[in-house]
Amino acid sequence: MKIKSLDPRITRAKIDENTQEGVLNPMDHFQTYEVFEQKKRGTHHCHVGSVHAPSAEMAIIFAKEQYTRRGQCVNLWVVKTSDVMVTEYLDSDIFETTETKSYRDPNSYKVMDRIKAFKERQTEL
């Protein structure tokens, strides 16, 4: 028996009810590539998502349709997901800063004094 569906596309495909063809095993999928999009020349590329693809070239083709169809884009990068080195969430404490490091915050820079002084002069006027 062929699969009959209310969706004409499914019926048209004449798929046998007991078909084993085209059934994917968990590891049969293509690898994934991470996609980075550049909206304007000179700006940096931003990560926008990932695609399955058989090669980097094909990943670019797919990424164009998945991520740039709406909105501006001038350039794409794709990188194999497996080539991305990632930190462990367990180690996320390495990103914590202590209060005593406030000298690293931009508001500790000398230029802030000059900006403040400039603003004060502006209000005086």
Binding site: R9, I10, P54, I61, F62, K64
Partner: protein
């Protein structure tokens, strides 16, 4: 140069073959929506099918300026005999090897034809040819990338593609069936003609197929499948039109 009646008929025939090809193949390719081999390809192929229908609309609009009916009527109210599309585009989607080879053959034809028309004396057509350049370039990149991957992939995949390449060569040559107005089209600077298009196309696809590792059809011995441009179609076109216009025909006067 003043256009005579024959020039206008030639121009209309050119526009109908282009727009009908795009509408019919756009509809056929959209039948893969939801059934594509992987999600990403499903989206890409469907999106390109939509692009094709958009391109056909732009060409039907030029036809309307030339006195033909409005695009909806032209697209949805004609019977198969009135379509100038080649036979290759109306065939059912078959398996993915056929659909990909048809996409490869057709889109290179489309890219070269549009490139030839970028300097045509018909201004609105010139604008359409320039407007869709990027879109069509992407379509050929998509086709080429698949052909390249499958040419270098598994023996089974390559064999299926090779078979489809050779078996559909005659259908592909059917795209270049001569118009009754070849002389008028070329002397007026409207279009350099199907023969010139065919030569460039054969050169382009042969070089690409060879670089992807496929055997190139022996074009000189291939019998072209003609008829479509003159309204002779296979039994597959009318059912496609019936399905495509099913909703439209419920109430042709409805506002969408």
């Amino acid at each position: 140069m003043e256009f005579t009646e024959k020039h206008v008929l030639g121009l209309k025939d050119l526009l109908y073959r282009m727009s009908d090809d795009l509408l019919i193949l756009g509809h056929r390719n959209s039948e893969w929506t939801g059934l594509g081999p992987i999600l990403e390809e499903d989206i890409a192929f469907s999106s390109m099918a939509q692009d094709k229908i958009g391109q056909s609309l732009a060409l039907y609009q030029i036809l309307q300026e030339l006195g033909e009916n409005e695009p909806d009527v032209v697209a949805f109210m004609r019977n198969a005999e009135a379509f100038h599309s080649c036979k290759m585009v109306e065939l059912p989607i078959g398996e993915y090897d056929f659909s990909l080879v048809r996409h490869f053959y057709f889109d290179h034809q489309s890219a070269i034809r549009m490139d030839m028309l970028k300097d045509t004396v018909v201004e609105p057509l010139q604008m359409v040819a320039r407007k869709f350049r990027g879109e069509i370039k992407y379509h050929t990149m998509h086709a080429d990338t698949w052909m390249k991957i499958l040419g270098a992939g598994s023996a089974k995949g390559k064999e299926r593609m090779q078979k489809a390449i050779l078996e559909n060569a005659g259908l592909a040559l059917g795209m270049f069936e001569l118009s009754d107005y070849e002389v008028e089209l070329s002397e007026s600077g409207i279009f350099a003609g199907e023969q010139a298009l065919k030569s460039t196309w054969i050169e382009t696809v042969s070089q690409k197929l060879e670089s992807f590792g496929f055997n190139v059809p022996d074009w000189d011995t291939v019998t072209p499948v003609y008829g479509g441009r003159k309204g002779e179609h296979t039994a597959d076109l009318q059912p496609l039109l019936d399905e495509m216009t099913e909703v439209f025909r419920i109430d042709p006067a409805a506002e969408w």
